[in-house]
Symmetry: C2
Subunit: 309 residues, 2 copies
């Protein structure tokens, strides 16, 4: 995956890939699709639709949709085929953030520099807005065009497994139960693998499925997603320690303040950085099966490693 | 739908149908299926699986599953074909009750004579248990055998619509927003149609779909479900006024205490009774298209009208 010389003699490197352009275009396409998929704010009862839209259009970077689209393109699929899945995972992500921010959970007042859903709409509506976005995710996913290798049943099994009680929700439960007590690195890995990595991995797998990928590709995407997902969360832990609230758009140092276990608190800052780098390198290796089509996936993994918020 | 003489001269009436036996068998079959569909309580993290099972096995009467199965049988389908949908709607029902009972919503301490989910497991886990049951519903529904007229996409559209922000959740939002102020009968009808009738109607429609029903049958099931659903909620309102907490297994007189608008408070007790009777009669009429196969649907509508808790 290092720089190579093309036969024309021009140096072509992975870094030539315009990741910013790719991310911006993904965000634009996904936002346009979400705008159509979600009920308008004027539809009765408007409170719920305003609350759903408040969180879904709160300025998220659309990382999961971008991973989904990049995976589809790596497998030779089209962006359009991946869009319903990209939007579905973003709805699941948004629902999980609304519920995680509730006073009964992480009790966060800010998210992406804005008041959290329950601070604006109240706890009752925030709970319902999360419920509605989760339901909406399945409505959107069901609108994907059928592909040969992955019938709708398989796709739904994929989404419900990643977001269900043994993965995404399991991570949140373990996180809740870990608060205020000392946990091991193994326990922390369990939380991160489920709370973050499961849905990230699901995003790339769904992209592959939308492109009717083969087994080798699906395995590579899975291994890639798991490593990028874990690295993503290690970096999140590091940023919580090293960045200001202003830089993050959410309360910094919160993990330390709430005595929440993080990678830096368990293995130290330097080892955490090394871990994220090693996981990302392992993720890069998985991209070899896609020959020259995984520029976007490569760029995304690198971007997630080097991000500053 | 009145009593008829068979050619053997024996009087055969709808009341000959053994509804208690039917309800018991439905509950038994649905409980056995839910037992298999839901993760075991020992699966990690056990808290969430215990919480999910606590509410799903809290002694619900399985009305929605029974309606789903009765509808399938009225259309000539098998019970087995309807079971996944029957279990899915029950999971959605259970999730909606857990979230409705939360302090941020109706703030109920008891449900079916037992402490509500958040009273046992805490608010955080209760929110997640609701989320997990909603997700589980879609996992279960995806396991139904495909039928010709209703591909998986159609079925998912049906479920997500009935339980989404324009129906089930819309009803809960309107209910939340109606608290403490005077509302009209029209507004109350909106709440009930969405909060209760939508999922009841969805249950019978899914039963029909599992049986690969035709258009005439689906329309009749829809009209039947809407009327039974509204009658169901009118009766619920009446019981809240006329029964004790002990009889109901939940706090009686709560609607009056919280100044919640109900049918008896808006149109009076006697007119409410007449309304429920009229709706049920209209529902009976819809069953004519099923010839002699709608005994269970007929019995269920009558049972829901005459129930005392």
């Amino acid at each position: 995956m290092s720089a190579v010389k093309t036969h024309a003699g021009r140096r072509s490197t992975k870094t030539d890939f315009d990741l910013t352009g790719f991310l911006n275009q993904c965000a634009k396409d996904v936002n346009a699709a979400l705008e159509k998929f979600l009920p308008r704010a004027t539809i009765k009862p408007s409170t719920i639709h305003k609350a759903m839209r408040y969180s879904i259009f709160a300025g998220g970077k659309r990382i999961r949709p971008a991973l989904c689209i990049a995976a589809a393109e790596a497998c030779g699929g089209t962006r359009n085929a991946a869009i319903p899945f990209a939007c579905a995972v973003e709805c699941i992500h948004a629902y999980s953030l609304i519920h995680d921010d509730l006073p009964a959970m992480d009790n966060d007042d800010f998210r992406r520099g804005k008041p959290t859903n329950h601070k604006v709409f109240g706890e009752g509506i925030a709970i319902l807005a999360g419920d509605a976005l989760l339901t909406q995710a399945f409505e959107i996913a069901a609108q994907a065009a059928p592909v040969k290798r992955y019938p709708m049943q398989t796709v739904f099994k994929e989404i419900t497994h990643a977001s269900g009680s043994k993965r995404l929700i399991a991570g949140q439960v373990a996180d809740l139960e870990a608060e205020g007590r000392t946990i091991t690195e193994k326990e922390l890995k369990y939380i991160h693998e489920n709370k973050t990595s499961a849905l990230l991995t699901c995003s790339v797998r769904l992209g592959g499925m939308a492109a009717n990928c083969n087994n080798t590709q699906l395995t590579a995407l899975t291994e890639f997603g798991q490593r990028v997902g874990l690295a993503f969360q290690v970096i999140d832990d590091i940023l919580d320690v090293t960045q200001s609230s202003e830089q993050l758009g959410k309360t910094a140092g919160k993990d330390t303040a709430s005595q929440k276990a993080t990678y830096p608190s368990i293995i130290g800052l330097e080892k955490s950085r090394q871990k994220a780098q090693r996981l990302t390198n392992e993720a890069f290796k998985q991209l070899e099966v896609f020959n020259n089509r995984a520029h976007a996936l490569h760029g995304l993994a690198k971007y997630l490693l080097l991000r500053e918020k």
